[in-house]
C-alpha cells in the first residue's frame, strides 16, 4: 500500500462533501481578515442578509495600510482619508458581526501573518485562509494555509467552508547544512530561482530535509511565506518538537488535557514513508550562497558575488524580452557585479522577515557601523509584540544609533499602500517578498534579500557579500 502525504491527510480530515467533478467542500478552521480585502465581503453578507457561521473562528487585524508613524493619535490621526475609512470600516464590521479584532493600539496588533501564529491562532493540522496570498506563511506549522479572494472571504464567513479542487503534491527536499549567513530567505529564493514563479502552480509544496528541520519556526515561516512566489498556493513543513514548543502557552493554543490530545494528534501529521509525490526535487543547502534578486520577478535571483545577467545570452524569446524589460526597469546593465550596485533605501520588515529572529540578525550587522550617508533605512517590526521584545533586548537602540528609522508595526513599504514608499528610480534592498514593477512605489526598484544582507547593504551603500563581514553576536 502506498502512504499518504501530509497534504492528503489534512485534506481528508477537512472534507465536508466531495462532488463527482473534483470540486470539494472543505471545512475551514481559522479565518484571518484584514482591512483591504474584506469590506466588499462584509457588504455582500449584509446585502444577502447573511451572518457569519462561526464568528469566533475568525480573527481580524488592520495591517496593510496602517501608518507606521504617529500611532498615538489613533484612528483619528490617520492622515489619508481612504486608509482611515478602510480601517474604520473593518472595526465597524467586526463589531457588527461579532468578530474578534486586534485594535490598532493593541500590543498584539501586527501583520496578520505575524500576529496569527503569535496568538496561537495558527495550529498544526488546521485549514487556515485569509484574503491575502501570503497566508502560505502558516504552513510552517503544518497547517494547510492559503490565500483567497474577497468572494471567498464572504463564502468562508457565511459557510465556514471553501469550494476547492485538490492540488497535487510536490516535495522539495533541502538536504545538507546551510553555510553561515545562508538564511531561510536565501533557501526560499534559491527554490524559486530553481523552479520558477509558475513552478509550483497547481501544487502544494512540502518542504523536507535536514536543512528545513534545522530552521527555527521563524525561518520556516519565511520559507513557507514565499511558496506563493513559486506559484504554489500553500507550503507545508511537518510539525515537530520546535513547532509544539513555539505554540505552548500561546493565548489561543489549547491548554491542559486539550493540549496533550492535540500534540498526540499533531505527531501523526507527516507524510508516510513511501508516500507518492507528483513532483519532487532536491536542493543541497551546503551549496547555496546568499542571494539577491536583480529583476522584477522573485525568480530573478543571483548570488551576491555574481553579475547582472546578459539577456542576449538567453535563447527563449519570451524570457529574453522579459529580461530586457526587467533590466530596463531596474536601470541595470548586463555584466555589472551585484556588489557594485548602489542602493538608496533599505526596508527591513514584512510578513517574510519582520520577526524577532530577523531583527536580531539585522541588528548584529547594524551594530558594526553606521548607515551610509546616501541611504535611508527603516526597520518595521511585524507586530507590537515583536517590537516590545526587540526593545527589551535593546535592538531598537542599536538600530537607531546606527541611523535606521524604528517604526510601528504594519505592512509598510512591503506594498507601499501607506506613506512608506519608494520615489521613482529609487533602489531598495528589501527583506519583503515581491520585487514586481511598482510594488514599493511607482518606478521604485526592489532587490529582495535576507535581513542581514539588507543591513549590510545599508551600512555599505551597496550590496556586499555578508560572508566577508564579521558580525558581532
Amino acid at each position: 500500500m502506498t502512504g499518504t502525504t501530509l497534504y492528503d491527510k489534512i485534506w481528508d480530515a477537512h472534507l465536508v462533501a466531495a462532488d463527482a467533478d473534483g470540486n470539494s467542500l472543505l471545512y475551514i478552521d481559522r479565518h484571518l481578515v484584514h482591512e483591504v480585502t474584506s469590506p466588499q465581503a462584509f457588504e455582500g453578507l449584509r446585502m444577502a442578509g447573511r451572518s457569519p457561521r462561526a464568528p469566533h473562528k475568525t480573527l481580524a487585524v488592520a495591517d496593510h495600510n496602517i501608518p507606521t508613524t504617529n500611532r498615538a493619535g489613533g484612528l483619528a490621526a490617520i492622515d489619508d482619508p481612504e486608509s482611515k475609512l478602510q480601517i474604520e470600516t473593518l472595526e465597524n464590521n467586526c463589531a457588527e458581526f461579532g468578530i474578534d479584532y486586534l485594535p490598532m493600539d493593541d500590543i498584539r496588533q501586527g501583520i496578520v501573518h505575524v500576529a496569527g501564529p503569535e496568538q496561537g491562532f495558527t495550529l498544526p493540522g488546521l485549514t487556515i485562509v485569509c484574503g491575502d496570498s501570503h497566508t502560505s506563511t502558516h504552513g510552517a506549522f503544518g497547517a494547510l494555509a492559503h490565500g483567497i479572494g474577497t468572494s471567498e472571504v464572504e463564502h468562508v464567513l457565511a459557510t465556514q467552508t471553501l469550494i476547492q479542487g485538490k492540488a497535487k503534491n510536490f516535495r522539495i527536499n533541502v538536504v545538507g547544512d546551510a553555510p553561515a549567513h545562508v538564511t531561510a530567505k536565501d533557501i526560499a529564493l534559491a527554490i524559486i530561482g530553481e523552479i520558477g514563479t509558475a513552478g509550483g502552480t497547481g501544487y502544494v509544496l512540502e518542504y523536507a530535509g535536514e536543512a528545513i528541520e534545522a530552521l527555527s519556526m521563524e525561518g520556516r515561516m519565511t520559507l513557507c511565506n514565499m511558496s506563493i512566489e513559486a506559484g504554489a498556493r500553500a507550503g507545508l513543513v511537518a510539525p515537530d518538537a520546535k513547532t509544539f514548543e513555539f505554540l505552548k502557552d500561546r493565548p489561543r493554543a489549547p491548554k491542559g488535557a486539550d493540549w496533550e490530545a492535540a500534540v498526540a494528534y499533531w505527531q501523526t501529521l507527516k507524510s508516510d514513508e513511501g508516500a507518492v509525490f507528483d513532483k519532487e526535487i532536491t536542493i543541497n543547502a551546503a551549496d547555496l550562497p546568499p542571494l539577491v534578486t536583480w529583476g522584477t520577478s522573485p525568480q530573478d535571483v543571483i548570488a551576491v558575488d555574481g553579475h547582472v545577467p546578459d539577456p542576449s545570452a538567453i535563447a527563449d524569446e519570451g524570457r529574453r524580452k522579459a529580461t530586457e524589460r526587467a533590466l530596463d526597469y531596474m536601470g541595470l546593465s548586463a555584466g555589472t557585479p551585484m556588489q557594485e550596485v548602489a542602493i538608496d533605501r533599505v526596508f527591513i520588515g514584512s510578513c517574510t522577515n519582520s520577526r524577532i529572529e530577523d531583527l536580531r540578525a539585522a541588528a548584529a550587522i547594524a551594530k558594526t557601523g553606521k548607515v551610509a550617508a546616501s541611504v535611508n533605512a527603516m526597520v518595521v517590526p511585524g507586530s507590537g509584540l515583536v517590537k516590545q521584545q526587540a526593545e527589551e533586548e535593546g535592538l531598537d537602540k542599536i538600530f537607531i544609533a546606527a541611523g535606521f528609522d524604528w517604526r510601528e508595526p504594519g505592512c509598510s513599504m512591503c506594498l507601499a499602500m501607506n506613506a512608506d514608499k519608494l520615489a521613482p528610480g529609487e533602489r531598495c534592498a528589501s527583506t519583503s517578498n515581491r520585487n514586481f514593477e511598482g510594488r514599493q512605489g511607482r518606478g521604485g526598484r526592489t532587490h529582495l534579500v535576507s535581513p542581514e544582507m539588507a543591513a549590510a547593504a545599508a551600512l555599505a551603500g551597496h550590496f556586499v557579500d555578508i560572508r566577508d563581514l564579521k558580525a558581532e553576536g
Binding site: 465536508v16 462532488d19 467533478d21 473534483g22 470540486n23 467542500l25 471545512y27 478552521d29 483591504v36 480585502t37 469590506p39 466588499q40 457588504e43 444577502a48 457561521r53 462561526a54 495600510n65 481612504e82 486608509s83 475609512l85 478602510q86 495550529l123 488546521l126 484574503g131 491575502d132 496570498s133 490565500g147 483567497i148 479572494g149 474577497t150 468572494s151 471567498e152 463564502h155 457565511a158 459557510t159 465556514q160 467552508t161 479542487g165 514563479t197 509558475a198 502552480t201 506559484g231 498556493r233 489549547p254 486539550d258 490530545a261 494528534y265 520577478s297 519570451g318 524570457r319 522579459a322 524589460r325 506594498l415 499602500m417 514586481f436 514593477e437 511598482g438 510594488r439 511607482r442 518606478g443
Partner: protein
C-alpha cells in the same frame, strides 16, 4: 453575478509574461470599499504617466482597443497578490474574457466568481490569437462557452477546456454561497464531529 455564455468582441494583445496583479491594479486603488469604479485604473501605471496623461502606445489607449472585451496575454497571467480588485477592474473596464497559456491559481479562481471566463490554451493557439488580435479593430473574436469554442477573425475554430462545475456556474450566473448553503446539513454533520477535537 452576471452570466457568461457568448461573447463577440475586440481582443487586445498584451504580449507580456507574468502579468501580475500589481500591474493589473496598483495598490493605491485598493483603498476602496466598493467593487465598482476600478476600470479607469486598470493597468494604471502602464496606461498613464505619473501626471495622469495617457501613454499613447499602451494597447488599451490605442483607438482600436479602447472598447476591448477580451485580453490575450502571456504565461502566468494574474500572478502575485490575491486581490480580487484585479478581476473587478477588468470587468469594470469591460473585459470579461482573458486568454493565456497559463494563469496563477488564485486569480484564475477569482475570475469565475466574478463572471469572467479565463481560457487556458496551448502556446501555439495563444500565439495565433495574439497575431490575430494585433490586427486591431478588425480582430473580433467570438467565444461560445456552451460549446467551448473560440472563433478567430478568419473563421478558424479553437476549442478549450473548462471545469464542468465552473462552466455551469458561469452559464447560469450562480452564486457559490447559495450553492454551498444547500449543503448546510453536511456542514452541520461535520461540525458535530469536531467536538471530539476540542482544540479545533
Amino acid at each position: 453575478m452576471e452570466k457568461f455564455d457568448k461573447l463577440t468582441g475586440i481582443a487586445a494583445p498584451l504580449d507580456i509574461i507574468n502579468v501580475d496583479t500589481d500591474m493589473i491594479i496598483p495598490k493605491q486603488f485598493l483603498k476602496t470599499i466598493q467593487r465598482s469604479g476600478l476600470g479607469k485604473n486598470l493597468f494604471d501605471e502602464m496606461r498613464y504617466t505619473p501626471e495622469g496623461d495617457e501613454i499613447a502606445d499602451f494597447v488599451l489607449n490605442q483607438p482600436a482597443y479602447r472598447a476591448a472585451q477580451i485580453l490575450v496575454a502571456g504565461d502566468n497571467f494574474g500572478c502575485g497578490s490575491s486581490r480580487e480588485h484585479a478581476p473587478w477592474a477588468l470587468l469594470d473596464f469591460g473585459i470579461s474574457c482573458v486568454i493565456a497559456p497559463s494563469f496563477a491559481d488564485i486569480f484564475y479562481n477569482n475570475c469565475f466568481k466574478n463572471g469572467i471566463l479565463p481560457i487556458v490554451l496551448p502556446q501555439e493557439d495563444v500565439d495565433k490569437l495574439m497575431d490575430d488580435s494585433k490586427r486591431g479593430a478588425n480582430a473580433t473574436v467570438s467565444i461560445d462557452l456552451e460549446s467551448q469554442t473560440i472563433k478567430g477573425p478568419d473563421g478558424g475554430e479553437i476549442s478549450f477546456e473548462v471545469d464542468a462545475f465552473r462552466k455551469q456556474c458561469l452559464l447560469e450566473g450562480l452564486d457559490d454561497i447559495g450553492l454551498t448553503l444547500q449543503k448546510a446539513a453536511a456542514i452541520d454533520d461535520y461540525e458535530a464531529r469536531l467536538d471530539a477535537q476540542a482544540w479545533r
